[in-house]
């Protein structure tokens, strides 16, 4: 039965030595079936969090320029903030305007796309909206969201309860008025998606199937199999396309433009393929560029898409936007740790809320499966690197088992095919059957908790600039709960779209197009003694092989 590839003997996708360890998981399953370790006390949580990458010493430094001067951030983020721009004043021609929409939206994930639709619904004609994307429209973290969207719509649930779960999960650092907007709008957002034709998981009578999310006190998660983000994204993208709202692709923003006096008036876009720049003059600009997973903070693999490189934070910060909670990073407890081809990829929390258990080398369930994400991630790191009860892969990574066969023991045969087709397919491509065997997991860099400080309407401290989704800060405090990210995108995409539309309709917005703020920022960098060694935004990561890079000649 064994399959021989590349010299190592594999059985059912695993090398023989891992196969032996899996037999311990099989043997102990019956014992663990009705046993769940209790949730940690607050003290136990505090103790294990010392091993969380956010709290472990190192990996951070002080920001030395700009509105958050003196604050701490991850080294990889501060490196980009303390970097020189791609273009400076005088290097490009700002007098010839290529696009002049009322509302410019930068980033076409769930947040940017919903902002465009709601701006249109609020009276901005489609031709006065422009949505620009770094990759294709929808190539974003949104489309990869697996688990679901939270909304307190069951009679036993309430917006208050959602509020408490969210703000406690965020370690009470969230902005209360912003969280209020999030939870109060949630049912309306679900209704909006239904009217647009989104297919959520349903009971026989039409009610939503609602599942647990880590850190919540009640079942509140609305899912579309394990393709929730894909379904939500497909539906609203189709709506945007049907409406004919202008959308350009492979055209990232490399700088915002301001009137020189703390007001955003447009942006410089750059054609990723030809290298040509374009100038946009806009009355309102909504930044929905997502997060920073591809910076591989602290050297972690990531669940994020190829373009998650912190661009929005970098360009908004130069324009004077204040950041918030930028020091905290969410590591998803269960990224794939094996096989090497999928390391870091997301294994949705819904697997655990459907019964899958983290299990160590000795077949022990060692942690409550649904702690808040930071606690759960730290507990997995402790199991692997302090208690040394992890499993080491052929490439030297460590992980613990996620006992997925328990899902079918608890929910019946066929459940994984129905609820987790994406996960099953991903492992099956590498000959692993997650219905029969456990999968190996380890924390992976997942989410930018903070970002550009927002208010309940997506407004920033800079006039003319709105934010929505992962690029923003204040919604999730210092740790986001499962199911609140797609919700954040849809709630604040909507609110930003409406608020920007009102701003435009009241006759405000617009002004001179300058890069004066960039000139000022460069002076600050020089004064702080930062040498022009780094430039940002970086737009894309670089994974080219070192051997090939070493022999490259830059000709054209």
């Amino acid at each position: 039965m064994g399959k021989k590839t590349t010299g190592i003997r594999y059985v059912g996708g695993y090398p023989e030595y891992m196969r032996k360890l899996i037999s311990i998981v099989h043997k102990t399953r019956a014992k663990r079936r009705d046993y769940t370790p209790p949730p940690m006390t607050k003290e136990e949580q505090e103790e294990v969090l010392k091993l969380h990458p956010d709290y472990a010493p190192g990996g951070k430094r002080t920001i030395s320029v700009g509105p958050n001067k003196g604050d701490i951030g991850p080294t990889e983020v501060v490196d980009l903030v303390e970097a020189y721009p791609l273009v400076e004043e005088g290097e490009i021609d700002l007098s010839k305007v290529d696009y002049s929409p009322d509302i410019l939206i930068i980033g076409g994930g769930l947040a940017g796309t919903s902002a465009a639709i709601w701006a249109n619904d609020s009276g901005i004609p489609k031709e006065k909206i422009l949505l620009t994307n770094k990759l294709r429209h929808g190539d974003a973290n949104s489309i990869m969201a697996e688990g679901g969207t939270q909304a307190a719509d069951r009679s036993v649930d309430s917006p208050e309860r959602h509020f408490i779960d969210t703000i406690g999960g965020g370690h009470f650092a969230n902005k209360p008025d912003v969280v209020r907007a999030l939870v109060e709008d949630a049912p309306l957002i679900i209704r909006w998606l239904l009217d647009l034709g989104a297919m959520f998981d349903r009971e026989e009578n039409g009610d939503f199937v609602e599942k647990w999310g880590g850190g919540t006190s009640i079942k509140r998660l609305h899912s579309c199999r394990d393709y929730t983000g894909l379904e939500e994204m497909r539906v609203i993208r189709d709506e945007l396309r049907s409406r004919g709202i202008p959308c350009i692709e492979h055209f990232p923003a490399i700088e915002l433009l301001t009137d020189g006096e703390n007001r955003v008036t447009g942006a410089v876009l750059w054609n990723l393929e030809t290298g040509e720049y374009k100038i946009v003059k806009a009355k309102a600009t909504i930044l929905a560029t997502g997060g920073f997973g591809r910076l591989h903070i602290r050297g972690f693999p990531t669940t994020n898409h190829y373009g998650a490189t912190c661009d929005g934070v970098v360009i908004a910060y130069r324009a004077g936007a204040r950041l918030r909670d930028i020091d905290t990073v969410q590591y998803h407890p269960t990224g794939a740790a094996y096989p090497i081809q999928i390391v870091g990829y997301l294994l949705t929390e819904k697997l655990r809320s459907s019964g899958a258990q983290p299990v160590n080398k000795d077949g022990e369930a060692f942690v409550f499966p649904l702690e808040p994400r930071d606690v759960e991630a730290a507990a997995l790191i402790r199991e692997c690197y302090v208690r040394n009860k992890g499993i080491t892969t052929p490439t030297g990574l460590r992980g613990v088992w996620l006992d997925t066969p328990l899902i079918e023991e608890k929910n019946g045969e066929g459940y994984i095919d129905k609820a987790f087709p994406g996960m099953r397919r991903m492992f099956a491509r590498f000959d692993i059957d997650m219905r029969k065997d456990p999968v190996l997991v380890f924390p992976t860099l997942h989410y930018q908790n903070g970002g550009i400080e927002t208010d309940p309407h997506g407004k920033t401290n800079v006039e003319g600039l709105w934010v929505a989704g992962e690029v923003s800060g204040g919604v999730h405090g210092k740790n986001r709960l499962m199911g609140n990210s797609t919700l954040d995108c849809l709630v604040f995409g909507r609110r930003a779209g409406i608020s920007a539309a009102e701003y435009v309709k009241s006759g405000r917005g617009g002004g001179a197009l300058t890069l004066k703020h960039v000139t000022g920022y460069v002076k600050d960098l020089e004064r702080a003694g930062i040498r022009p060694e780094r430039r940002s935004p970086i737009l894309l990561p670089d994974y080219r092989g070192r051997a090939a890079l070493a022999r490259m000649i830059d000709v054209f």
């Binding site: 009470f172 497909r234 490439t395």
Partner: protein, 251 residues
């Protein structure tokens, strides 16, 4: 260095191949692949996407989520000595020795414009917006080309019959990579037909849950307003108490 900090270092070192690219000295097993006809020796453990990067390609197109959800990296390949063309997502397909491959980074397919709130919930909607569905010759090439292993031809047939549920459920896992449409001899854009069908089914095929309607009415009537006004104003210590005293719903 403190213990916690050295643990972080060990984790980063172990993940280097994933976060910073593969180093040739760590590789035991190699294969030869042909990227648009040219041979490259690449580590055997890579996907088509990471193997192309190893070979020196830096993607600005034909790449998106890198995890099989977005459909940006459609790839066509043929194995040495075989006549058959195969399809896959570059980020989800392991390289094999003697693979000839090319990426299809864009599908120039038609997408109809419609307002689903104004359309009738029957088979005519497909003929109205995608009349070419009627040209399906049931050759099953679409199904064979689907990297998600969907029964594409079956859902196209369901659309022709006006069976929204079968179409919606059968096409649900579609990532809209475009490979079916690129291979279809009848020029049907299967994934766009399915998108229209799913939206129609999502809106008209299932009732709006009663509990959602009730909750929206409650919000509208201001049922939670007073409590929320209080909540946003309470000091942190009280929020901490409220959080600690939550009662978890029974499983």
């Amino acid at each position: 260095m403190k213990t916690e900090e050295s643990i972080m270092q060990r984790i980063a070192d172990a993940a280097k191949a994933v976060t910073r690219g593969v180093d040739a000295k760590d590789i035991e097993h190699w294969v030869t692949i042909y990227i648009m006809g040219r041979a490259y020796k690449v580590p055997a453990d890579l996907t088509i996407l990471t193997a192309m990067e190893y070979a020196g390609y830096r993607f600005v197109r034909g790449v998106g989520c890198r995890q099989g959800f977005c459909g940006a990296c459609s790839t066509v390949y043929r194995k040495e000595g075989e006549y058959k063309l195969q399809t896959g997502m570059a980020c989800q397909t392991r390289v094999e020795d003697g693979m000839y491959l090319v990426q299809i980074p864009f599908a120039p397919a038609e997408k109809a414009a419609y307002d689903i709130s104004k359309e009738s919930y029957d088979a005519s909607v497909f003929l109205k917006f995608y009349p070419e569905v009627a040209r399906c010759v049931s050759c099953n090439t679409c199904t064979k080309s689907c990297p998600q292993d969907l029964e594409v031809m079956d859902y196209v047939q369901a659309a022709i019959r006006g069976d929204f549920q079968s179409l919606a459920e059968g096409s649900f896992d579609c990532i809209q990579c475009g490979l079916c449409a690129m291979r279809c001899p009848a020029d049907i854009v299967q994934y766009n037909v399915a998108q229209l069908g799913r939206r129609m089914y999502g809106r008209y095929g299932m009732p709006v849950p009663k509990h959602l309607i009730t909750r929206l009415q409650e919000i509208e009537a201001g049922k939670f307003r007073g409590k929320m006004d209080q909540l946003v104003a309470v000091p942190r210590e009280q929020l901490e108490k409220l959080y600690a005293s939550r009662v978890r719903e029974a499983d």
